[in-house]
């Protein structure tokens, strides 16, 4: 172990200190003279050589509650110092303190108790339930710990219990519904696919809205390095996937700017503070605890459409097996037989069994009947996780190590995620007062998935596993085997292994061929962690230095064997192998000073000041090879052509570096522990903008007032135990992306080769017009809130209102190409976000054996775009320019615009200016008329989100459920459009012989009377193909049982005689049930996906595929 740790570490210059500490800790039991060794270690720090060591004593004891039960997690601190610990599960603690010190015992819901140490080294304490102030300590910016009551802003905390032993290995997905104000959306149901996390709405139109991730006090890259646009698929993972949920002690979400000012522009989208078990300072005194968790889950498709079984492929009742659409003839019993789809010249040699003599009906051998293909395509994936954690500590040091392995099989064949996470961490407090700590983590993530490029419900432009699967015509036996005889449709040509399928010209790539031959994926190798030094200069002045590092390589590939049938022949069909290697580095340094002093008259000052530098560099290189030589081998040398291009044609070589520097200070003045005024600010300097605009100061202020402490009337009240009123105003900024201020020339080599072999190169002027005057985007936010505990602490409330204004948006303005350019970054426009966050908790039952806790998290956010100048009519936030999500003055950010059914006023016969107002116009042919332009046809922002969590505990049993309700929010969805428009689901199993008349009016204003066939009505109008976008926009309201679990922990008495410290078994499931009532009933559509992948906006769905349902069990043992 030590050897390997060294091997990892020694490669990194500057980590000798950490190695030293780890070595020391590992062999501490062998040390005879600890004190001497400690001094030797301390001596290595020249800086602090003359420090005087104080006289200390070790105290230990047990903390119990009113009933005499062990009280765990109680904070035990040495008064007026930062020295402290918490009690373990048995209520015990050990702490090294100065002689004559006073210990302070505090815990949520209990009255804080102070006990002088005196001569006794054993101190047992019984806490009584508090009727007033609660002094929970939370971690804020830069690891600064503060009493929660002192904070003028909201902080949401999620503990390990809500994160570990879950089937989902993406930490952020586990946060869904657990923190108000945090909006999480999966990009797809594929294992390892990216995840959107947005805090308090999107405040930038074209910038990034991913929050800052801080792991153990230092920045952690959370980007999603998609190498191609969403059109080519979105299974690129988000880099917080590299965290191991089982190794997380807690996550705090700093939502507002008041909370994140010290992080400056980096914290503008909120900050997710992750404390890993390795980075935890929780101490386990003189004890070693090993915990092992083993989980097994089954991963299945959450729901598939209910396909009708009455009609087969074709159009207008024809027997058209070769059609994409399913408007063909009704099935008969016995089935009629048709020419086998593979009875075609191109396959006569390869598959002679299907070659029948034409005519006389002896070539009709394939049965035209339902085959249930789609549901048989999916599999039950198995998810396994093994996690081992070791925690060990002495009075002044602790050491943690962890290892975790995850094997997550997707429900689609070919989709697998493997993760390895190694972690080491430790803290030691040296006798000279210096504290040294650090973490070291190594993570590997290996993701493989078939491609999932977008499809409009017709052939996708490039390979896509879902693109042609979901609407497989009922009479196509996709999943059959040789045992089906004449009904068998092999998926590959046995001679050359190329894809074959039911259409005569073989223009659909067989989905089975795709999963067996086409692969996308990412391999991540990541090292991250930190080293920190702290020193108390005086009893009330501390200084600390922290260096954080985060380095990963991201090997991203798309590989497909020759023999495919979609995409350009010479790029896709003859085999492609595109690889890109990305390297991401973050170096972060921060120095922080902390000072606190009690003043006269009940005042107290607590001040922090620091400097920080964050250097982020990303570089990637890549190659695309095409025209595979030998089938099956993906190696650039096995391809005829190698080019410096991605499959989309772009340049895969790219590098960027951004440096952010900051100096910050923050001070809190408190009066009698019931009024806290905090003032702070940061000055930031960035490398993204020209000198005149690169420096910016952001102030912040907040106030916290606790009436229950201030007024006598509340003292002893059992109804109002605690009440806090808070408010704050703070600012931040966004400095945009790098390289937007200066012009650059594009160079392209090998752009054309003429008939005699002359190779031509070119240079071109970028279509991005530089803007040297670009300024930072300014963000200001006001938030007010109330926190309280009522009725004997049984009801808790945390309510926040906020309003965030983001002005001078740095946005990519699309230019009319006739100006010579197509895009420019400019400062314009305002985005306002207003919202309500509510956390409500109630303890319904609380007695010796039973406990039933109900919690609700409510999130509401309204955004509005304004002040876009007149020459910017609209901005495409994402999607396509004729069908996408836009920023438009007076509208919420990201409204859906697309073409729609033309509406007219039947009286004036004028076209409506509002896309959704008026009578639908029907053409003489009987179909709806598509609008010639685009208009607003939906608003994807949900009205609100509400999560309800119920936790019922009885002795060792615990039953937990989480229900999520998303109300409103529109979605333009091609899956329901395709399934209904192509006549596949039970929504269309009516009598298709009856003609239909579309409701609407003709051009002369009279009601439409044109009869059309069912095929025509549905296919031409509801399939999404013909520019009638509003017909496939649905209200995405959905309700969901996101999680349910039952766990049982063996009682301590039973475990006493065993070597185990704890043993628990949990059976749980995720995404167990959902209902989205406003989609066509039998499509069973789950709107919790986004074809755009990780994006600021949502609401477009292009056959992204079903979501995942996971059920399984997990066993956790500690010893």
């Amino acid at each position: 172990m030590q050897h390997y740790a060294r091997l990892f570490l020694s490669k990194i210059v500057g980590y000798n200190i950490l190695i030293f500490i780890l070595r020391y800790l590992l062999f501490k039991t062998k040390l005879k003279n600890m004190r001497k060794r400690l001094l030797m270690l301390a001596g290595t720090f020249v800086l602090l050589a003359n420090t005087v060591l104080a006289q200390t004593v070790q105290v230990s004891g047990k903390v119990t509650d009113e009933r005499g039960d062990a009280a765990s997690g109680v904070s035990v601190t040495e008064k007026n110092t930062r020295n402290g610990t918490t009690t373990n599960a048995s209520g015990n603690f050990t702490l090294q303190v100065r002689t004559n010190a006073t210990l302070v015992f505090s815990s949520i819901g209990y009255t804080t108790k102070e006990v002088a140490v005196g001569s006794s080294t054993t101190i047992n304490v019984s806490l009584v339930v508090s009727t007033e102030a609660i002094s929970e300590v939370v971690v804020t910016s830069y690891g600064i710990k503060r009493e929660k009551k002192a904070l003028g802003y909201a902080v949401a905390t999620v503990d390990a219990k809500s994160l570990e032993q879950r089937s989902e290995s993406d930490v952020v997905r586990l946060l869904n519904g657990k923190a108000p104000g945090v909006d999480i959306l999966n990009s797809s149901g594929m294992s390892g696919s990216g995840t959107n996390i947005i805090i308090r709405g999107v405040s930038t139109i074209t910038g990034s809205s991913t929050p800052l991730f801080i792991v153990d006090g230092v920045p952690f890259d959370a980007s999603t390095n998609a190498q191609t646009s969403f059109v080519y698929g979105n299974t690129t993972s988000s880099r917080f996937l590299d965290l191991d949920p089982n190794n997380i002690e807690s996550i705090s979400v700093l939502k507002g700017l008041s909370a994140t000012t010290l992080y400056g522009e980096l914290g503008r989208n909120g900050v997710v503070l992750v404390t890993t078990k390795n980075g935890s300072s929780r101490k386990i005194n003189n004890k070693t605890e090993v915990s092992v968790t083993q989980s097994v889950f089954v991963n299945k498709v959450s729901n598939l459409p209910d396909y009708q079984q009455l009609y087969g492929g074709g159009f207008d009742q024809s027997v058209g097996l070769a059609f994409f659409s399913n408007w063909g003839a009704a099935f008969t019993d016995p089935p009629i037989k048709v020419t086998h789809p593979y009875d075609r010249t191109a396959l006569h040699v390869a598959l002679p069994q299907f070659n029948r003599t034409p005519g006389a009906n002896n070539d009709n051998i394939y049965e035209f009947k339902p085959y249930n293909s789609v549901e048989r395509f999916f599999r039950s994936g198995i998810i396994q996780n093994t996690s081992v954690g070791i925690q060990s500590g002495t009075a002044n040091s602790n050491f943690n190590a962890s290892y975790s392995y995850t094997d997550d099989q997707g429900f689609v064949p070919g989709n697998n995620l493997y993760k390895n996470n190694f972690g080491l961490g430790g803290n030691v407090k040296l006798a000279n007062g210096l504290t040294v700590g650090g973490t070291f983590n190594y993570a590997t993530t290996d993701l493989k998935s078939p491609p999932t490029s977008t499809s409009f419900g017709s052939n996708p432009t490039v390979s896509s596993v879902y693109g042609n699967l979901i609407y497989t015509p009922i009479a196509v036996n996709l999943m059959g085997g040789p045992e089906d005889g004449d009904n068998y449709l092999p998926w590959e040509n046995p001679l050359d292994k190329s894809s074959i399928y039911y259409r005569g010209n073989n223009d659909i790539q067989n989905p089975i061929w795709t999963v067996n031959n086409s692969f996308t994926g990412q391999k991540i190798n990541r090292i991250y962690g930190n080293v920190r030094l702290g020193y108390a200069i005086t009893s009330n002045l501390n200084i600390s230095y922290r260096i954080g590092y985060d380095y990963y390589t991201d090997y991203n590939f798309f590989s497909q064997n020759k023999g495919g049938t979609v995409g350009a022949d010479l790029i896709y069909r003859r085999g492609i192998h595109r690889t890109i290697n990305g390297h991401n580095t973050i170096w972060d340094h921060s120095v922080l000073m902390d000072w606190n002093k009690k003043l006269n008259g009940g005042f107290r000052v607590n001040a922090d000041a620091g400097v920080n530098s964050q250097d982020r560099a990303y570089a990637q290189t890549g190659m695309r090879s095409t025209q595979q030589l030998v089938y099956g081998l993906f190696d650039h040398s096995n391809f005829i052509i190698s080019e410096n291009r991605t499959e989309a044609g772009g340049d895969p070589d790219y590098k960027s570096r951004q440096l952010a520097l900051g100096a910050f200070a923050q001070g809190t003045l408190s009066y009698n522990d019931y009024v806290y005024l905090t003032l702070g600010g940061r000055n930031s300097w960035t490398s993204n903008l020209e000198k005149d605009n690169r420096s910016l100061f952001y102030p912040s202020s907040s106030l916290s007032f606790i009436p229950t402490s201030a007024f006598e009337a509340f003292k002893g009240s059992r109804m109002v135990n605690y009440l806090k009123i808070r408010g704050g105003y703070a600012t931040s900024a966004n400095f945009g992306s790098p390289y937007r201020t200066r012009p650059v020339l594009n160079i392209s080599t090998n752009v054309f080769e003429d008939r005699v072999g002359t190779v031509l190169n070119s240079n071109s002027i970028s279509n991005r017009l530089p803007n040297s005057k670009l300024k930072p985007e300014l963000i200001g936010e006001i938030e007010v809130g109330v926190e309280g505990k009522f009725v004997n602490n049984r009801i808790s409330l945390d309510l926040t209102f906020y309003r965030r204004l983001s002005e001078d948006q740095i946005l990519d303005r699309d230019l009319d190409p006739s100006s010579g350019f197509t895009v420019q970054s400019i400062n314009a426009g305002t985005v306002q976000n207003k919202g309500i966050e509510l956390g409500l908790g109630g303890t319904v039952i609380r007695n010796k054996d039973w406990r039933w806790q109900l919690d609700a998290n409510f999130t509401l956010n309204r955004s509005k775009v304004s002040h876009l100048p007149d020459d910017i009519k609209q901005i495409v936030v994402d999607g396509f320019s004729n069908e996408g999500l836009f920023a438009i003055n007076g509208q919420p950010l990201g409204v859906i615009q697309g073409s729609y059914v033309q509406k007219i006023d039947p009286k004036t016969l004028q076209f409506s200016t509002e896309p959704l107002v008026g009578e639908r116009l029907v053409s003489p042919g009987g179909d709806y008329v598509a609008s010639s332009g685009i208009g607003i046809i939906g608003n994807p922002t949900p009205d609100f989100k509400l999560a309800g969590i119920s936790t019922l505990e009885y002795k060792g049993f615990s039953f937990r459920m989480q229900w999520d309700w998303t109300q409103g929010g529109d979605m333009m969805a091609y899956t329901p459009g395709t399934l209904v428009g192509r006549g596949l689901t039970k929504d269309t199993d009516f009598d298709r012989l009856l003609p239909l008349i579309l409701p609407g009016v003709q051009a002369d204003g009279t009601p439409n009377t044109v009869q059309i066939s069912a095929s025509q009505a549905y296919f031409n109008n509801w399939s999404g193909f013909f520019g009638l976008g509003d017909l496939i926009v649905y209200d995405a309201t959905n309700i969901r049982l996101r999680e349910a679990s039952v766990s049982y922990a063996l009682p301590a008495e039973v475990l006493k005689k065993t070597p185990f410290g704890a043993l628990s078994l949990t059976v749980s499931g995720q995404n167990l049930w959902y209902n989205a009532p406003n989609f066509p009933k039998y499509v069973n559509f789950d709107p919790e996906t986004s074809s755009l992948g990780v994006s600021n906006v949502r609401g477009l769905e292009y056959l992204t595929g079903p979501t995942s349902r996971r059920i399984g069990a997990s066993l956790r043992v500690t010893f």
Binding site: N505, A568, D651, V744, V751, S766
Partner: protein
């Protein structure tokens, strides 16, 4: 004290950082604009120019039934965003790089570069007017100085383009410091060829705008007298693609789109195929001698025809189609062609927007001329990626035959000389046929072409005589013009730009196939403005409809369909 010290150190450190911050402003992913090079700009401009022509030609071929327009009506056949690509390519692909090239090349006295650039610029400007009418010109391409360019009248832009052509002729006459040589993908750096091209394009511009120019007659006469026009195949103005299929793909884009392992992408218009294979007679002896060069049939019969493979199969003949017409070449009575023709010619009717059946390997597709596809020797085989001429086609921007036809038009309509027009008509047909016949050899076509399938002099004469007889049999200028323009139309295969201009200028040929829908609305007299223009430019207003005519189109707006 300690605090002050810390603040001091921080301040010093940060001021030292300014240099680092400055350095990070420079994009490391490309060189600075100062390192730009005239040759490299020229390549960018030429490739963009070829792409521009291809896109413009595409629209024109669809509107003149050469390839299918899905329609079903003229007002919904194309959405404004259909033009985003060509609009962007014109301004940010061709014009921007030409504008950037001109000062660099002038400075280095690379006057052939300058002349080439101005000619391409003039061509693009004229074509933009032909397609859209009034477009940004004087306020265009100014970058930061004008992000919302207003449009100029089409006539002003045409005048500007002719000025550019005159300037180019003068520039090309100057001694140049170097020739672009192989960088010139049209004429390998020949100033003389470019001068001829500029003069011919002036002639083309004058004929195109003749309805709007009272002085067109004399101006055209002067240009014809001055000579130095594209009058031989060796002078043809064409962009040449090669057989290189990847790294980089240098093939004709229409070849690429129609030669895939799953079949062809475009449908050839039923009317155009009928004009080649049936109108003047069936079979090699009587049809158009260019048929086997222009089109390639994947099937030479209709064994695969059923309602699942071709939508019009079994459908009634459209009641609104013109019937009982008299064929001027054969004298026979005929109906407007519909759906299936003969011998496997498999296309699609004008304005047919029904679903696409699985017929990619059944459709008739583009042939060896001018797209670099395959010579149709009745192979009846599926297309594939490396097929026939392997994409070594051309963009026929201007050819000697086209010069003949527009001069013939001038002679007939403006100069009232039926005889002179007849001479040019014959010359035009022969030049066009010879171009097609000689084409395989000119691109290094590797398959043997059976001599029996190559039209001999007798066949060509037979065809020429049939046309001349029809011309001679015509009694009015309008009827003569119809014969003339039909032959121009047949020669323009691959050049939809001039086919579309010709149709709007002359309303000929008569009785091109109507749309399947009886009431297609007014003909697309000009294209709507692109969405990138209308939606992003404050000074842009979408036009009232597709019936709006460009400045040189003085025909009644409803005079064609």
């Amino acid at each position: 004290m300690k605090k002050i010290f810390l603040i001091l150190i921080t301040t010093m450190a940060l001021s030292g950082c300014d240099k680092t911050l400055d350095r990070l402003l420079v994009n490391p992913n490309g060189p600075t604009p100062e390192s730009a090079n005239a040759d490299l700009y020229l390549t960018q401009a030429q490739l963009s120019f070829a792409g521009f022509f291809n896109a413009a030609s595409d629209f024109g071929m669809e509107l003149t039934r050469m390839i299918v327009m899905y329609g079903p009506r003229y007002d919904n056949a194309y959405q404004p965003q259909s033009y985003d690509g060509i609009w962007s390519n014109a301004y940010t692909g061709v014009l921007k790089h030409i504008n950037a090239l001109l000062p660099v090349a002038n400075n280095e006295k690379k006057f052939i570069h300058v002349g080439m650039a101005k000619i391409m610029k003039a061509y693009v400007l004229m074509t933009m007017v032909d397609m859209f009418g009034d477009v940004p010109f004087s306020e265009g391409n100014l970058g930061e100085d004008n992000l919302n360019p207003k449009v100029d009248p089409g006539a002003t832009i045409y005048a500007g383009a002719i000025t550019l052509l005159d300037e180019a002729i003068a520039d090309l006459a100057k001694p140049a410091s170097s020739s672009p040589g192989a960088q010139d993908l049209f004429f390998a750096g020949s100033a003389a060829r470019w001068i001829t091209t500029a003069k011919t394009l002036k002639l083309r511009a004058l004929v195109t705008t003749r309805l709007a120019d009272p002085a067109a007659n004399t101006k055209i006469a002067a240009l014809i007298t001055a000579g130095d026009l594209i009058d031989a195949a060796s002078k043809d103005f064409e962009f040449k693609y090669s057989k290189k299929g990847s790294n980089p793909n240098s093939r004709h884009p229409r070849y690429n789109g129609n030669h895939t392992s799953t079949g062809a992408g475009d449908y050839i218009g039923t009317y155009f195929m009928w004009s080649l294979a049936q109108e003047k007679g069936q079979g090699d002896a009587n049809n158009d001698p260019r048929t086997r060069y222009y089109l390639y049939r994947q099937r030479t019969n209709y064994a695969n025809v059923n309602e699942n493979t071709i939508n019009c199969f079994g459908q009634a003949y459209p009641g609104h189609y013109a019937t009982g017409l008299t064929n001027p070449y054969t004298g026979a009575t005929y109906n407007m062609p519909f759906c299936l023709l003969i011998n496997g010619f498999w296309g699609r009717d004008h304005g047919d927007n029904s679903g696409i059946p699985p017929d990619g390997q059944l459709r008739t597709t583009v042939g060896v001329y001018p797209f670099g596809g395959r010579f149709d020797a009745n192979q009846g085989a599926n297309v594939s990626v490396d097929f026939g001429g392997q994409g070594a086609g051309i963009q026929p921007l201007w050819q000697s035959a086209f010069t003949d036809f527009i001069i013939a038009e001038y002679q007939l309509v403006l100069n009232n000389s039926v005889a002179n027009a007849r001479v040019r008509l014959e010359s035009g047909i022969r030049n066009s046929i010879n171009k097609a016949i000689n084409f395989p050899a000119s691109i290094g076509y590797s398959e043997a072409i059976s001599a029996t399938l190559v039209p001999d002099a007798a066949r060509i004469n037979n065809y020429v005589n049939k046309v001349l007889a029809a011309y001679d049999g015509a009694t009015t200028t309008d009827a003569r013009l119809n014969i003339l323009m039909k032959e121009y139309y047949m020669a323009l295969w691959g050049n939809g730009v001039d086919a579309y201009n010709m149709y709007r200028r002359t309303n000929k040929p008569e009785y091109m196939q109507y749309t399947i829908e009886n009431n297609p609305g007014v003909y697309l007299n000009s294209h709507l403005y692109p969405s990138v223009f209308v939606n992003r430019n404050l000074n842009a207003t979408q036009k009232s409809g597709v019936g709006v005519q460009v400045f040189w189109d003085k025909n009644p707006p409803n005079s064609r369909r």
